[in-house]
């Protein structure tokens, strides 16, 4: 089981929650997480597949083959909009 934080507009795609708990097998990678999310939340999954939303693991941008463990801090990051 991994916990996935959601920011910005992504919360509107998953009924307003800011954290998802996703069951994943041992040895899972980011791409496996994306597959599960795509199945459960197609709109969110599509943004991930199109790389409009990126995945961070322990506050670094992750690749699709990045391995995940339960204690990882995982977040889904929509396009940034800081500044003015």
């Amino acid at each position: 089981m991994v916990q996935v934080r959601l920011f910005g507009m992504l919360k509107t795609l998953v009924a307003g929650v800011s954290m998802l708990e996703i069951p994943l097998p041992d040895g899972a990678q980011v791409k496996d997480l994306v597959d599960v999310l795509h199945a459960q939340y197609p709109d969110l999954g599509e943004l991930l597949v199109q790389k409009k939303v990126v995945v961070s693991v322990n506050q670094d941008i992750a690749h699709w083959d990045t391995a995940l463990v339960e204690s990882d801090e995982i977040a889904l990051l929509p396009p940034f909009a800081g500044g003015a």
Binding site: R5, F7, G8, M9, T12, S56, Q59, A75, L77, P78, P79, F80, A81, G82, G83, A84
Partner: protein, 147 residues
């Protein structure tokens, strides 16, 4: 009042407003070699992409946002001929006309200060996990992209 000079004060993500005079002094006090200071201040405007905006809220990824601003300051110090750089961004609710973001760069000469200041704000927009929700007459809108 003594100006705090720790590096942590030069990179901040904070809810409260900031004082331009105080932040300018913080950079100026870092070195008497500074001969030019460039500043970018981003403020909340009441119009965006053809619609009125009544106020806004910034959300940030606590920890990662600070890490990215620190990285921007360190890369600016390394890649440009400058003496000091300060990078601040606010989060939470912000009213029209209020301060949002501040970059201050001190260098020996103006050209380096201008160049580094522009690079810092451009890079901030690219790599810092901060998001903006605008409140408009048509509803609340998460801003997706910035020029």
């Amino acid at each position: 009042m003594a100006v705090e000079t720790e590096a942590s004060m030069l990179v901040r993500v904070q809810q409260e407003n900031f004082s331009l005079d105080q932040e300018l002094e913080r950079v100026r006090a870092r070195s008497t070699r500074i001969g030019g200071i460039a500043l970018f201040l981003g403020t909340a405007r009441d119009h965006s992409k053809g619609h009125d905006v009544s106020s806004m809220t910034f959300e940030h990824y606590e920890g990662m946002a600070q890490k990215k601003l620190k990285e921007i300051r360190e890369r600016a110090l390394q890649d440009f001929d400058i003496i000091e750089a300060l990078v601040l961004h606010r989060y939470g609710p912000i009213e029209i006309g209020e301060n949002i973001v501040l970059i201050i760069v001190g260098a020996e000469h103006r050209a380096d200060a201008f160049k580094a200041c522009q690079w810092c704000i451009d890079e901030l927009k690219k790599i810092t996990p901060i998001w903006k929700m605008e409140y408009t007459p048509q509803g609340d809108v998460w801003v997706e992209e910035h020029p």
